[in-house]
Symmetry: C2
Subunit: 361 residues, 2 copies
Amino acid sequence: MSEKVKKRTLINDIASHLEVSIATVSLVLNGKAKQSRISDAVAQRVLAYVEEVGYKPNQLAKSLRTGKTHVIGLVVEDISNPFFATVAWMIEKQAFERGYRIIYCSTDNNTEKTRELISMFQEQHVDGYIIVPAESIEKQITGILRAHTPLVLFDRYLPDLPTNYIVVDGKRGTYEATQHLLAQGFSKIAFVTTDSLQIQMEERLQGYAMALAEHQLPQTVKRVAVTKDTNAIIADIQRFIQANAQCDAIIFSTNYLSIYGLEAISHLALRIPDDLAVISYDDHDLFRLYTPAITVIAQPVESIAKNVIDILLEELKHHSDKAPLPMQHVVLSPTLIVRKSSLRSAATAATGPKKAVASKK
Amino acid sequence: MSEKVKKRTLINDIASHLEVSIATVSLVLNGKAKQSRISDAVAQRVLAYVEEVGYKPNQLAKSLRTGKTHVIGLVVEDISNPFFATVAWMIEKQAFERGYRIIYCSTDNNTEKTRELISMFQEQHVDGYIIVPAESIEKQITGILRAHTPLVLFDRYLPDLPTNYIVVDGKRGTYEATQHLLAQGFSKIAFVTTDSLQIQMEERLQGYAMALAEHQLPQTVKRVAVTKDTNAIIADIQRFIQANAQCDAIIFSTNYLSIYGLEAISHLALRIPDDLAVISYDDHDLFRLYTPAITVIAQPVESIAKNVIDILLEELKHHSDKAPLPMQHVVLSPTLIVRKSSLRSAATAATGPKKAVASKK
DNA sequence: AGCACGAGCTAAATGGTTTTAGGTGTTCTA
DNA sequence: TAGAACACCTAAAACCATTTAGCTCGTGCT
């Protein structure tokens, strides 16, 4: 029973060793020495000894007392998706520098799981939330708002709720992509999207629809049921392409749909862009390196991350203020990055209805 | 001043409403009613009322008291790398089901950052650690061991330290890959790896070296300095390939090196596999879809995740036991997935192992 | 001398739970 | 009928910090 118990140093130990009160130690450690009129001499002694023994306050006790955990809950759709992974990584980095930690979780766009995660974060007393909202979670978000906990949504927003959010103008992205295809002489353009009715998906569809409407061209829209079964999705897209053989171009509304789409196209042994031009909403390593390289509507990842964390930290800073900060709504523009997959090759262009337009910029 | 203050329900409120002591409520809630001889009648009343008002204990207070946070710290090299992202995702899923939360962080393989992260996790009182160790962090790991906090390493291990770990037999992977290339008639095989001397990288190199030694063939090894500057890395690989034009095959020791390598190869307008066969250690979406598809040494991601979490949860379960559990060392086998990038095409195969002036078939 | 005042510090309450060592009242035994 | 045995519950300490109200002293002023 003679265990050598290595007791962690407590504030008490510091205080009794220095023969001051624990209040003094705490005040000094929290930079309140001046305002509490602790003499410099004492403050120095405390600091020196704390440094010497390497005392670190127990965060749990601290959080219990102050109600602040310095933890931010980050809820994304899928952390293994490069888009979310990159944004998360940038957010983490910035937050870390300013003394906040991030807890990530993936929702898989599952409403029930999102609910659980949010309630778990509540239990963990996170100081703030960054959320990519799944469908039908207005209630939990309202809960967060009522508790006046800082919150920023991104990638999508909930139209009925007064929250901060950062989104990308997807409508504009798909509109420009569609215009680009039309300018290249493609006219039977299909749009493949998910079965989700979430606002950002609908907007991407609208951009496409708008561009075609302007040219009085018909739309060909496929809504793919997103399941765990990758092969089913690929097969579904494959059938769609076969059933719409007249189409000469496809826009996919997300990066993972594009990846499935590329597999489908490859199974069908169609050539890109000669048989079928392709554009993806959202970039991916793969698209840069694919042969041919895939044209994408790129989201300003860095800017999204920066805005998200800036707004959240701002809220956090003013959290104790009487008046709530005004809600911020940031809409960023995507960029069309033209690559081979959407360019008429010389041979085809000659036969095409329109001459190819010069590449961007 | 007439703020409508919505006080959270406390255990106190429950107790006084039911006119029992808070001890009773706590015992019932923690399933200790029987062993503390609380009557079923009282237990039922407590449970019913707790349910009714939706009382949730304050986790901070609970953790402060019990010393358990039900949080696991997961430290990986780079959460945006699909390998780590996938493993992390699987671990998170399993842990969540068993009541544990995960906090992720990326080290970027930076020793200093790893140190900070581990010490941050210590401060947060995580119940256990899952770590992909960067170089020179033996000291912090020793700290964790001394505190008897459950710990599992994966992807690599620290040879001098008695820890649990799950690794993949990289030596075997590269050995088989090299043999495969030799069997295909490639004989001037280069190996591109990082400048890190970490054990898993060294082992991958050894497998390659061993296979070549058996055939008494010379080695061509390139150690790339891994920096933030992607273009520099690509340029470096590009120069290496040019300087070793005699090589007819390359094995890359990580998935990201392969990706940079593919860019380099593409810049040089070399054809895979006719001019240069390619094999990547570690799989990636990109490699499946690339043209030609890239042969890979695939790591058993699912099995890694399962072993990691199983061992950790086991440790967590027996944590309060007197005797420590024996350390577990799991070595999993990788799988060579042969794709086009390492197969002699019919035309080239005919001309044998010399570098072909390949006519495309 | 008496009093106000500021400088410098501290006692004690507080945050919300878990858990141990009893306390109380009833029934059973001798 | 005393005492043991038991069933059922509770008081209070413990976890470890922050923070507020207030205490003590020495000084300066009248």
